[in-house]
Amino acid sequence: MITTSAKRIGALAIAATVLVAACGGSSSSPAASAASAASAASAAAATSAPSAAAAASGAAPSGVAGPATCVDGSITTSGSTALQPLIDAAGKAYTAACPKSTISVQGGGSGTGLTQVLQGAVQIGDSDVTAESKLQASDASQLVDHVTTKQGWVVVTNTGVAGVTSLTSQQLQDMWACPSGQSAPKITNWKDVGGPDLPIVLILRPASSGTRATFKQVVLNGQTECSGQALTEDSNGAVTAAVSQTPGSISVIGFAYYQANKDKVAAISLDGVAGSVANMASGTYKLAAQGHMYTKGQPTGLTKSFLDYMMSDPIQKTLIPSLFYAPVQ
């Protein structure tokens, strides 16, 4: 090893500088001036410090006012990935105005949020469904529900499925649910619903997801999905990617995810009603549900301040519509 090292001096020198740069932040003050050439990593340490830089590059939309009063502290929320874009943006707007508070927003799924808020791992659990439907009654009664928004989902297909723009609840049931004793749904080819001669590829969320639970309740009337023939992907993002890639695929994603991927997947109207914020707000679009934020016991401190902020005008009137949710009022 020693004999070969002479030949590698060039490579080693580079490696060493990278290493020094990478570790520089942990051993010395970031105020120390960054060495010019290999400064990439230490520059990261130095320039991500000022809050202004962070706020500018974050997802917080400009024009959303901060909370009326700031409460210092640090909280974490976790749960529904369908609600995550909204809560993430609200959290960033809050902390942009209140530099002494930290709000970490995690996904993980509705069950995660409920379980973790119950265990005390997070302060707020975000869920697409009520705690009563997920937890035992004794556990659910410890949680306090805060309905902060209304959210909708849209049925999407791969863009290669031409000629199908609307499906009825009955058709969706025939595509999703197994008739009793059967291992395949009634409709397995797009030609049966006016589309091309192409097999239908069902992409489900895991059975534990809030999206799947809502769809099952609202559209499938509680019938069991034919999971044997379907793909399962674990979040809105992964489903969107799979639908955009896979010919003949169909699935259900949150409005915000659809809006961000309009060019990659095709939206399907449900019983002739297009999935839009206006239709959801007016109540004509039925694939929608309340967005819940649960706390264990009554909220206090920053948690309370953040939940109040969620109900204030900057969030309800500005942020929520801009991210394709509907206000609760």
Binding site: K134, L135, Q136, P206, S208, T224, G228, Q229, D234, P247
Partner: protein, 275 residues
């Protein structure tokens, strides 16, 4: 301390793993059912783990079949054939291979392998690309460095005398490899493969990204299947109650599979040291 950690970990997983049977009263035999219907919103729940166990074993087996010839071949190359300069490339390359994180392999599988299978082998039944084979190929790549480095050690451990004795008898290098090196190192190579399998059984994220996650008994390489690890990653965060207990039971099954492998490795090792 290590023992304490292990006892704690084992005890904990066993304790959580048997909750399904003890607390919720699910019959033990039910986990051998092929039906996975854990959703309390549906009528009638069945916690059949057979699809996951079968899927784990199936994905693992094909990965080993694909990976073994390549990695044992590479190890032989490095130990017996390679000139010094080639070894100097191959060895660090293996280290880099080990160093590439599993999520990166999963991401590669998702963006390259899955579309590739769908576009070029759609006629073979890869309608979506998410498949048993995709999972196995990703795993094969991941366990390659493991099998290579352990079998390399086994080959290098073959005494030089044995090799020179064979060569002195006028055999070619390949004959020496086939008749002397391979048989002597056989137990070591077997250990290497089992180590690879162990890693394959436990890998979660990379497989989950490409396998499609359908809870069915694997029947075709082109169809999506699922594994214990990928189901745990999918559901653990969201499932509550009995369903959650069933996931811990999956963890326990995984642990038992690892235990079986460890015992197998020990047994192989004992055979080797006796020889």
């Amino acid at each position: 301390m290590v023992i304490a950690a292990v006892v704690l970990l084992l005890g904990f997983i066993v304790w959580r793993g048997v909750q399904l049977f003890v607390v919720s009263g699910v019959p033990v035999t039910q986990i051998l059912s092929p039906t996975w219907q854990p959703d309390p919103l549906s009528e009638g729940t069945t916690y059949g783990l057979l699809p996951f166990i079968a899927g784990t074993l199936a994905v693992m087996a094909v990965a080993a079949i694909v990976s073994t010839p390549l990695s044992v071949g590479l190890a032989l190359f490095m130990a017996e054939v390679a000139p010094t300069w080639a070894r100097r490339i191959a060895q660090p390359a293996m280290e880099v291979f080990v160093g590439i994180p599993s999520v990166v392999y999963g991401w590669l599988g998702l963006t390259i392998l899955v579309p590739f299978l769908r576009v070029h082998f759609g006629w073979l039944g890869f309608t979506t690309g998410f498949s048993w084979l995709a999972g196995s190929l990703v795993l094969a790549l991941m366990i390659l460095p493991t099998i290579t480095s352990i079998s390399y050690d086994a080959f290098v451990a073959v005494p030089a005398d044995m090799r020179s004795a064979s060569l002195a008898l006028g055999t070619t290098r390949w004959q020496a490899i086939r008749h002397v090196v391979l048989p002597t190192a056989a137990a070591g190579v077997a250990t290497a493969i089992v180590f690879g399998l162990t890693r394959a059984a436990g890998e979660a994220l990379a497989v989950q990204m490409v396998i499609g996650n359908s809870p069915i008994i694997p029947t075709s390489l082109a169809r999506p299947v699922t594994t214990l690890t990928s189901q745990i990653t999918l559901d653990m965060s969201d499932a509550t109650g009995t369903w959650n207990e069933a996931l811990w039971t999956m963890g326990l099954v995984l642990l038992l599979i690892s235990l079986a492998f460890v015992l197998l490795i020990r047994w192989l090792g004992r055979g080797r040291s006796r020889a």
